[in-house]
């Protein structure tokens, strides 16, 4: 998974976003290379999901630049934005499955609606992708409400990768899965990057998963990328915030806003 030397797939510079008076992103700079897998670490509520949504254009950044394949995407609208989003697959933190559609229709949605593929062909692709996340053809005919949380997550993952996108965003792909299934998903993410050559940007609180899927790790803290480096340097980052995070210690420079008993 060597980072290619060409220009990065995504270049984020000086990204700012505040909700009212609450500053969430305060000048984020981050690159994601072609066929590179980047993992973002950061405390709950630190703005990781907001960062992904800014890149997708679901949340409008207050200022800053986001270039995809060298093209500025901030402020893009309409057809241009639709075209851009064809390059992306997104796994939402809360799965966000369409509850009026069956499981397989969810997975095939981007193929049928977005790309105009014939239904039968799209269904075959959907069943194959569902197989890759460990869900059989019987599950394909159920509605999302009939699935467990972890199963919903896997369906959402299948939907994100169904159209073989160039860029895949995973918002907590392994949260809510048992350790074995989590590792299956890790392998699937690695395969997406290696075999399809996709660029992946993942958010996870699961350090074992981060070590496995990441080429590079970035730590988001106080609205900025506080530290970033190759995954091999995670243990010798020399950064107290990163150390506290990967060892899961309550004491350290990152202070959670809680009342101590």
């Amino acid at each position: 998974m060597a980072t290619s030397q060409t220009t990065p797939k995504i270049i984020i510079r000086g990204l700012h976003k505040a909700f009212g008076s609450k500053v969430v992103l305060d000048g984020v700079d981050l690159d994601i290379g072609k066929a590179e897998s980047v993992v973002i670490l950061g405390g709950s509520g630190s703005g990781k999901s907001v960062l992904l949504k800014c890149v997708l254009g679901i949340v409008k950044p207050d200022s800053g630049s986001i270039k995809v394949d060298g093209v500025e995407t901030v402020g893009m609208k309409g057809k241009e934005r639709d075209e851009l989003l064809r390059k992306f697959g997104m796994l939402f933190q809360g799965a966000a499955l369409f509850d009026s559609l069956k499981v397989w229709q969810n997975v095939a949605f981007g193929l049928i609606q977005g790309r105009g593929m014939a239904r039968a062909e799209a269904k075959a692709v959907a069943l194959k992708k569902l197989g890759q996340v460990g869900l059989g053809a019987d599950v394909a005919e159920l509605s999302p409400a009939e699935l467990s949380g972890g199963m919903q997550k896997r369906v959402a993952l299948a939907r994100a990768i169904a159209a073989d996108p160039e860029i895949i965003f995973f918002d907590e792909p392994t949260t809510g899965l048992d350790p074995i299934m989590a590792d299956v998903i890790n392998d699937l993410i690695i395969a997406s990057v290696r075999t399809l050559g996709a660029s992946a940007l993942s958010i996870t609180h699961d350090i074992a998963s981060a070590r496995k899927i990441a080429d590079r790790v970035a730590m988001l803290f106080n609205g900025k990328i506080h530290w970033q480096g190759p995954v091999a340097e995670l243990d010798r980052s020399g950064n107290a915030h990163v150390d506290q995070f990967i060892h899961g210690r309550a004491e350290g420079p990152i202070r959670m806003q809680v009342l101590r008993p």
Binding site: K53, L56, G57, I58, D82, L85, R86, F88, G89, M90, F92, G94, A96, L97, F98, D99, F109, G110, Q113, G114, R115, R159
Partner: protein, 260 residues
Amino acid sequence: MFLISFLGTIGRVFLGFLGATGRLGIFMGAAVSHVFRPPFYPRLLLQQMISIGYFSLPVVGLTALFTGMALALQIFEGSARFNAEGTVAYIVAIGMTRELAPVLGGLMVAGRVGAAMAAELGTMRVTEQIDALTTLSTNPFKYLIAPRLIAGTLMVPFLVLVGDIIGIFGGFTMAVQALDFNAGTYIKNTFDILTNLDIISGLVKAAAFGFIVTLMGCFHGFNSRGGAQGVGAATTNAVVSSSILILSANLIVTQLFFSN
């Protein structure tokens, strides 16, 4: 001091109202422009037409039936005071087609369809399904809102036409069964008095009300915020605002048709 804070409150409410009107106007412009631009989703349109048109038939039909019957009874009692019982058929026919079937039908559809739409789209918003649509290269205005707007604007006139017939039939039943009217005369009087304009003005109203109900349902659902409570508020707002808009639009359309 009190006066200033009082005026301040009025000012804030007024500004809030202007802001909401502006947002609604922008939303309506976007929604209508997407109605006419491809891609179109005929399957979804059909689904909405069935859910708005077919499944509202019992509600609108019963409303029209009871209203027509009550109207016949009221007019009979009232007109008997100056020996004009013969006007029952006239007033039921005109009252139902011009006014009661469209307005009551519109209000019933607001309660049934507008609320359901706001709740459905509101839930899709707060569970990020609308965001997911966007990331799957599908425009939510075209996929979710356009089919609903078209279906509402087409199907409420159909419902009102059915309501016209059932309402007049209700009046007829009441008159013939309970008030000893002659069936043949009642029917003849009804057809004598009714003009195309009576029926068409009612259907134009119905189309406007269908548009209002679906627009408000979509607008409040689409912009709902903050979980179950937000969806609840969106539902209430959709029903209240579309009811008020229906009643005011009714006055405007009536004036346009009949004020000279």
